[in-house]
Symmetry: C3
Subunit: 168 residues, 3 copies
Amino acid sequence: MFIHIASGIGSASTKLAAFDAALNHAGIANYNLVRLSSVIPPNSEIVLHDTKPIPPHHLPGDWGDRLYVVMAEKRVDTPNAEAWAGIGWVQDKETGKGLFVEHEGESEKSVRRDIQQSLEALMATRNVDFGPIQMDVVGKICVHTPVCALVIAVYQASNWHNQPQLCK
Amino acid sequence: MFIHIASGIGSASTKLAAFDAALNHAGIANYNLVRLSSVIPPNSEIVLHDTKPIPPHHLPGDWGDRLYVVMAEKRVDTPNAEAWAGIGWVQDKETGKGLFVEHEGESEKSVRRDIQQSLEALMATRNVDFGPIQMDVVGKICVHTPVCALVIAVYQASNWHNQPQLCK
Amino acid sequence: MFIHIASGIGSASTKLAAFDAALNHAGIANYNLVRLSSVIPPNSEIVLHDTKPIPPHHLPGDWGDRLYVVMAEKRVDTPNAEAWAGIGWVQDKETGKGLFVEHEGESEKSVRRDIQQSLEALMATRNVDFGPIQMDVVGKICVHTPVCALVIAVYQASNWHNQPQLCK
């Protein structure tokens, strides 16, 4: 299956609206998100969109469907504080199996270090080496209004008849 | 699809039991809740039950099924503190598409203002006008025992064979 | 349906990695967890594994599938602090219907007392007597590295085509 990863930053009058603006930035504001914790199925192909939204033709499902995602997100409303969020992953080249970790914090360094250490520990726990650690990390400083930084990995959409639609 | 909105307040020996009492008040204590974040699908009809429980004949599924919901809930156990929760929404008259926001706080004013500002921001982000803002807000003061205030929007039930049952 | 309950304790370089180690201890680290809140369906049979992992042949689904669970989990990274988590339940002998509660805390006593009081309140709210209260509670003290204590009840796995697989 394809798993699309995108990031978003948002700023708005409330923390919730900043979160929504960040989701909109990532291209997925119009879904009902269900959060997963957080493993990459075999034969998955990760598609990374950096700071651009996921193009609509890659996204499964429609307005109001459930969208199953792994998400790191940090909301901050203290002026001069920073919101940082990141997803890291490792993936076995042969099977496509892998592992995600999500971390949030108030500095880029702490989020990157958390991701690095968590993935090393997850591989040690399973006694596997899934190769080099990759990560997508974003952040934003709070000036006046609340901000949100998020990184999201999209797995699948399900409509309200429980029919699945995979990413393309 | 029909989306039923109900509110509940509860008071009990623990915060979790207060939450359960509030769910019972709203008529949905006997489901396995899965939380959504939080969009109204096209062609939806919102049915508001105010402070009454959702009548059982409107509720899909049975004891122990998964129930997909948008929920605002606040639990408080400090005497004299207040628990407030609210859901707000806007809905396009033509398509039935809409947006929910959920807010919690310790005063009615802050929750109502958050809902108002968030929905204005969500419409601005999407460059749409979905009409007037509606909201359902409830609260309760903590006297001796923990209290919970919640508002919940029920989308669908799924049994453990993944068969969907929509609201009536 | 069968519902398997297992506990785990973990210690690792980050709180997230400690959580993963505890999941691994319980035998379910390689799923995408979706959290439920928290009712036992009719005709359920609870299978308790104490401190041992759930044997793989009892677990439904495969690496990366969604696993629907009730979970109590506590992560602590302050030296000398304790992480405690527990699930309690009652179950009607005739119908198999029941109720779960999940509690977390920093002492065993508080978690056990919370579970006891919550289940008494949940039965009182429904005006039922589902018999004696059972519980599975675990804890761990933080020495140097972050720790996690968790208890988990596994309901079902769904693959990405939304096909369900029940526990055996």
